[in-house]
């Protein structure tokens, strides 16, 4: 990183001389590369580098935050003046402020988040991953006559976080991903689906051939999809899709949603919110984890927590501010971007797998829906009301019978978590949010 800790400290010192009572600086620098191949032709190659500095200042109980991509001295001096002026305009907020110095972490776990091999690849070698993945997909079946392309991308970023009351932390991480979207055509109707692999390191990526074949399989199984009649039936979420349910749960137990009253899980700490099959951990210390980090967005320590244990809500996701609003300590889940104050997010948010294989789960359904794709945003976080567009495969007598589309599935998230009937054993723990196949006892499926 070009920007030095000493520069950050000097800028904060200047701010204190102008009357600030405290402040912090977050600097992010990064590089990224992406290449897209479509029908074996390189369609796009993109290369980028960027940096950004965020300055947050407190004047007693007032605060403001500014950010810029221009890190020249004159620009930062102007930023300092702007931040002081804006802070004067903000209104007093009794709860705002930095964590107390003794809360900061002094131990920085080694999380193995940087890939040193990927830099050795040439642009041609990176492109060849995408090329191989697309070829593997299209070679699977003649009906796969078109492609939305294959992408290879990788990124590297560094973060420096310095506060006026003594925290200094540095974090770097890399990522690599490969994806393919194939298109099948039959009788004038098209279907598209995709597959991807995204990891910290190149060596962890699924092989291009495997990514391609999975994309092909997912696309082919959609051919001939039809609508079905409206019915209340069991719904099985493919593990890839079940992840979204965990995402909604994480949003609902975010301290910000809770103190604003904008969650369907208000005042549920210690209460039963799901069937006893649901256990979730949040663990920012997993080696190689995409959600791993040595300290949270406020410099607090990273440690594994139980969020839901056998259906009982054990912990919210909190930072210092939202914790104070709820009368609770931070859970170390602060996340920060350069342009805004901390907010809250899970790190590696993972469900404990069950014993049933996906096949066994499907076999338990006499008539129901196996969901492989959801679209739309029909989720009301305040009431938990849930209604989304769905496609997938209809289950008849325990077998995947035929593809279906243009359906909606609806219910209420409170009920959905309380109706998890079977938890699968198929979990991919390299994902930041991971869930196995889940069977929900009954949901309304709307079609014809």
């Amino acid at each position: 990183m070009q920007f030095q800790v000493s520069q950050a400290k000097a800028l904060l010192k200047k701010a204190m001389e102008k009357g600030a009572s405290g402040g912090d600086i977050l600097v992010g620098e990064g590089e990224s590369f992406s290449a897209q191949v479509r029908l074996n032709t390189v369609e796009k190659v993109s290369n980028a580098s960027g940096k950004r500095l965020g300055l947050r200042l407190f004047f007693g109980k007032r605060s403001a935050i500014t950010s810029t991509s221009d890190l020249s001295e004159s620009s930062l001096n102007q930023l300092l003046i702007d931040t002081c002026e804006l802070a004067m305009i903000a209104e007093e907020d009794f709860f705002c402020g930095l964590p107390s110095p003794e809360a900061y972490t002094t131990r920085f776990p080694e999380l193995d988040t940087v890939d040193t091999e990927i830099d050795k690849l040439s642009i041609e070698e990176k492109i060849s991953f995408a090329r191989r993945a697309e070829q593997a997909a299209l070679a699977e079946d003649k009906r796969l006559s078109n492609s939305d392309g294959a992408d290879f991308s990788n990124a590297y970023s560094e973060k420096l976080y310095v506060t006026s009351n003594g925290f200094e932390g540095f974090f770097k991480g890399s990522s690599a991903s490969l994806s393919v979207a194939s298109i099948a055509k039959l009788d004038g109707k098209m279907q598209r689906d995709y597959w991807y692999s995204a990891k910290r390191k190149l060596s962890q990526l699924e092989s291009p051939e495997s990514v391609g074949r999975t994309a092909a399989r997912r696309t082919l199984r959609r051919i001939g999809a039809r609508k079905v009649s409206t019915a209340k039936v069991p719904v099985v979420f493919e593990s890839e899709i079940a992840v979204s349910l965990l995402g909604h749960l994480a949003s609902a137990i975010s301290g910000y949603a809770l103190y604003k009253g904008a969650s369907f899980l208000l005042n549920q700490l210690g209460e039963k919110i799901a069937t006893s099959d649901l256990t979730i951990y949040d663990d920012p210390t997993l080696p190689l984890g995409l959600g791993s980090r040595p300290f949270d967005g406020e410099g607090l320590p990273s440690c594994k927590k139980t969020i839901v244990e056998k259906g009982i809500l054990k912990s919210y996701l909190l930072d210092t501010y939202s914790g104070k609003k709820l009368g609770l300590p931070s859970t170390g889940n602060a996340v920060r971007g350069t342009g805004g104050p901390p907010s809250v997010a899970p790190s590696n948010f993972q469900m404990l797998p069950g014993n049933a294989s996906p096949e066994e789960i499907i076999r338990s359904v006499p008539s129901g829906l196996y969901v492989t794709e959801l679209i739309g945003f029909g989720i009301n976080m305040i009431t938990g009301d849930y209604s989304r567009g769905a496609s997938g495969i209809w289950i008849e007598q325990g077998e995947l019978a035929y593809p279906v589309e243009e359906l909606t599935i609806a219910g209420n998230l409170k009920d959905i978590f309380n109706q998890i009937e079977i938890v699968g054993n198929d979990i991919d723990t390299t994902k930041a949010i991971s869930a196995p196949t889940l069977k929900i006892a009954k949901m309304m499926v709307a079609g014809n």
Binding site: V45, I89, K260, G376, G378, G389, T408, G447
Partner: protein, 491 residues
């Protein structure tokens, strides 16, 4: 800060010491022998945000972003590089990456830079840009909204309001020798209310804005029967009214039924059902459900659908697109027949079709793609009340959240946030939010009545595609669709 687009060029020359000669030499380097086209996109943007919750304007922030994107095109291949440092050496380094797609060859091709031109349109010149209005006035506005919302009904327990504005200066230099600049102001005001009655808690949201001056919020709302009501008062009243209304909402129905969409924001139907599917990139790649269907019937003859980037002061309007092409009014569907796709330069060239001024990008860090501007259906002849009266059993939806589409299968969704059951021509109880799902190429064939009350939305739309967000507008007259699937929970 000025909003005169003619001053964009001067802005970059003064701030970064760029000259026509440096643009010329960079473009020449990118161009090389096998490159068909190259462009440079310079951007400087200041954004600010004020947000209120619990009666306090807690969050105040300001962001400055600047950078340059360098693009080279050879047939269907694109090389793109960007940097947040606008210097000649960074430009040359980015140029080297961008031209990677040309397999061989060194050396530069001379590019004659023509004189700088202002865009053809001047749709949002303002005496005073919203960003220049003293911050104190913005804080006061949010405070007024908070008081107003709480006064609407004692059951309104939480009020959240935010004001965002930005000021963007762009300059586009192309290998065709064109240099076009623009200055784009944009602002948006949002109000969210949470109503509580016992354990029943419900939310309502409303907002508006555009490429207008701050005074816009204090002008008359022009809502029928609300003489003297200011726009910000209207937004607040709507957010509060929706939250209170939802306290009595019953479960939405599930299944296929008649649907009538109210005027304005429900135009998101057009955006999802056909707009994305008519973007040229998907049609060139033949991955859209509308591929190869120009000249074919894709809607009932009551439907004429337009994308128009030239409506003054609208959120979705732009003087020129992000490739320097003047925006236009494009007829997408005329009386049910598919007439045009939305084009950017890459796709128009490959498809041998005319530019439509729809090549947009989120910022210098993104390459342009065909995107919508303001997309709406022209008014029909039916009286909106007559349309409701014609319904036997169905859903009347007047407000929506977001939507999404699967371009290839054509399936799209959009989620109603205010809707009512209609039985035998009479509007009944409000229902809880529900997602509506349909098939893009079919849904407009089922349009059986179009109202005479075309309205554009209030100015809050943001469209996402391939990770890029751009501001857009939608519009619709009251429209009846003979059947759609409604994703409620009640049988």
């Amino acid at each position: 800060m000025t909003t005169d687009p003619r001053e964009a060029n001067q802005f970059f020359l003064e701030k970064y010491g760029l000259s026509s000669a440096s643009l010329d030499s960079t473009l020449g380097r990118v161009l090389g022998r096998q490159i068909d086209y190259a462009d440079l996109y310079f951007e400087y943007q200041v954004g600010e945000s004020f947000s209120l919750e619990e009666g306090i304007v807690k969050k105040v922030s300001k962001d400055i972003a600047q950078g340059v994107g360098v693009r080279a095109i050879a047939e269907e291949k694109t090389g793109y590089a960007y940097s947040d440092e606008i210097t000649v050496s960074q430009l040359l380094s980015a140029a080297k990456t961008a031209r990677y797609i040309a397999e061989a060859g060194q050396g530069a091709v001379p590019v004659p830079i023509h004189s700088v031109s202002a865009p053809k349109h001047d749709l949002y010149a303002l005496k005073k840009s919203p960003i220049d209005v003293p911050a104190g006035e913005k804080v006061d506005l949010l405070q007024q909204i908070d008081r107003l919302a709480r006064a609407y009904d004692p059951r309104i327990k939480k009020v959240m309001a935010s004001f965002n504005s930005s000021y963007k200066v762009i300059l586009i230099a192309t290998s065709l020798g064109n240099v076009v600049g623009d200055i784009l102001p944009l602002m948006r005001l949002n109000v969210t209310c949470i109503a509580e009655e016992g354990t029943n808690r419900q939310v309502g949201s409303f907002g508006g804005g555009g490429r207008s001056a701050f005074d816009f919020f204090f002008e008359p709302s022009d809502v029928k029967g609300r003489k003297g009501e200011k726009r910000f008062e209207y937004y607040t009243r709507e957010a509060a009214r929706q939250a209170i209304l939802n306290l009595s909402a019953i479960d939405a129905p599930a299944g296929t039924m008649e649907v009538v969409l109210g005027p304005g924001w429900p135009g998101i139907l057009l955006h999802e059902a056909i707009g994305h599917g008519l973007e040229a990139d998907f049609n060139r790649k033949k991955s859209s459900a509308f591929s190869d269907r120009l000249g074919q019937r894709v809607a009932s003859d009551l439907c004429t659908i337009i994308d128009d980037g030239t409506i003054p002061h609208r959120r979705g309007s732009i003087n020129c697109d992000d490739e320097g092409t003047a925006t236009s009014r494009t007829v997408l569907i005329e009386k049910g027949i598919l007439k045009n796709y939305l084009q950017d330069r890459l796709n128009a060239t490959l498809m041998k079709m005319s530019l439509t001024g729809n090549g947009r990008r989120e910022s210098y860090a993104h390459n342009p793609m065909p995107r919508m501007t303001n997309t709406f259906m022209l008014a029909g002849e039916s009286d909106p009340e007559e349309i409701i009266r014609s319904m036997k059993h169905g859903l009347y939806a007047v407000s929506f959240g977001g939507g999404q589409v699967d371009i290839t299968s054509g399936k799209f969704v959009f989620s109603a946030s205010e809707a009512y059951i209609v039985e035998n021509g009479k509007i009944g109880k409000p229902v809880k939010g529900a997602t509506l799902i349909g098939n893009g190429p079919d849904v407009l064939k089922k349009v059986t009545m179009v109202g005479n009350d075309l309205a554009l939305d209030a100015g809050v739309g943001t469209c996402g595609k391939d990770g890029q967000s751009v501001p857009v507008g939608v519009g619709l007259p009251t429209t009846k669709i003979s059947e759609m699937t409604v994703g409620g929970t009640a049988q």
